[in-house]
Symmetry: C2
Subunit: 153 residues, 2 copies
C-alpha cells in the first residue's frame, strides 16, 4: 500500500515545499523516502542505517535527527513518543493540514496506523480533561493495542 503511492507522495511533498518556499534537499529526500517506504515506524539510527545500504555517501545519524526535526516541523513525519520512533504522515498527498494525529500501535508486530478519531471522541476526552483541571489537550494520541492479525494468531 505504502509503496504504491510512494512516488506520488514524494512529488506531492516536493510541491508543498515549493509552495512554502523551503528546500527539500537531497538528504531530506533520502530520509523522507526511507520513511515513506518503510513498513513500520523506524528509529533515527535505523533510518540512517537503511539510507546507507548501497550508498557510498554515508548518512550520519546526527543529520537524521536534524532532518527529522525539519520534516516534523513541516508535518511530513510524526514522532511516536511511546516508541522513540518516527513515521511518515499518512496524509502526505492531502491538501489540508494535519495538526491532529492519532496512532494505533500494535504491541506485537509494531504496526502503526494513523487514524482520525471522531470529534465526538475528542470532545468526550476534552470534557474529562477539563474536569481534571486541564483546559486544553493535544490532539496527538498514541494508543497501544493488538492488531487483528496479531490478536487471532
Amino acid at each position: 500500500m505504502r509503496t504504491v503511492n510512494s512516488e506520488k507522495a514524494m512529488s506531492d511533498v516536493e510541491q508543498k515545499c515549493a509552495d512554502r518556499g523551503i528546500k527539500l534537499t537531497r538528504r531530506r529526500k533520502e530520509v523522507l523516502r526511507t520513511l515513506v517506504l518503510a513498513e513500520s515506524a523506524m528509529s533515527a539510527y535505523e533510518i540512517a542505517e537503511r539510507c546507507n545500504v548501497g550508498s557510498d555517501d554515508p548518512m550520519p545519524a546526527m543529520s537524521v535527527y536534524r532532518i527529522l526535526d525539519f520534516l516534523r516541523d513541516q508535518q511530513f513525519v510524526h514522532r511516536l513518543e511511546t516508541a522513540n520512533k518516527y513515521i511518515s504522515c499518512s496524509h502526505l498527498s492531502c491538501g489540508h493540514d494535519h495538526a491532529q494525529s492519532q496512532f494505533l500501535i500494535c504491541n506485537e508486530c509494531r504496526k502503526v496506523e494513523e487514524i482520525d478519531f471522531s470529534s465526538e471522541a475528542f470532545s468526550v476526552m476534552e470534557k474529562a480533561a477539563s474536569a481534571a483541571g486541564f483546559s486544553s489537550i493535544s490532539p496527538q494520541l498514541e494508543v497501544r493495542g493488538l492488531c487483528d492479525s496479531c490478536e487471532t494468531s
Copy 2:
C-alpha cells in the same frame, strides 16, 4: 494532597503485599515512598538521587530500575511512556484493581493527573480502532496538554 495520605498509602501497600505474599523490602519502600511524596513524575535517576539525599547507603540507579519493574508489576506505580518518567498510582489505598490508567500531562509545568475516562469515551475509541483493524486497545492513555494555571499564565 499527596503528602497528607502518604503514610496511609504506604501502609496500605504493605498490607497488599502481605496479602499477595510478596515482600516490600527496605529498598522498595524507599523508591515507592519517594514517588508517593513526589509532586510530579520522576525519572529513574531522579528517584535514585532523591533517595540518596541524606542517606549513607546509596541507592544505585540500576536498582531503581529493577524496583520500578517490580512496583509496576504490582500496579503500585505507572510508567509514563511519553515522558520516560514514573509516577505512583493514585489509587494505592483503593481495594480494586487499576489495569486502566489515563494521564493528563501538562506540557508546561509537567504536572500529571491520573484520571478515569468514561467508558463512553473508551468505547468510542474502541470503535475507531476496530474500524482501523485493531481488535483491542490498551486502556493506558497519555494525553498532553496545558493545565489551567499554565494556560492562564
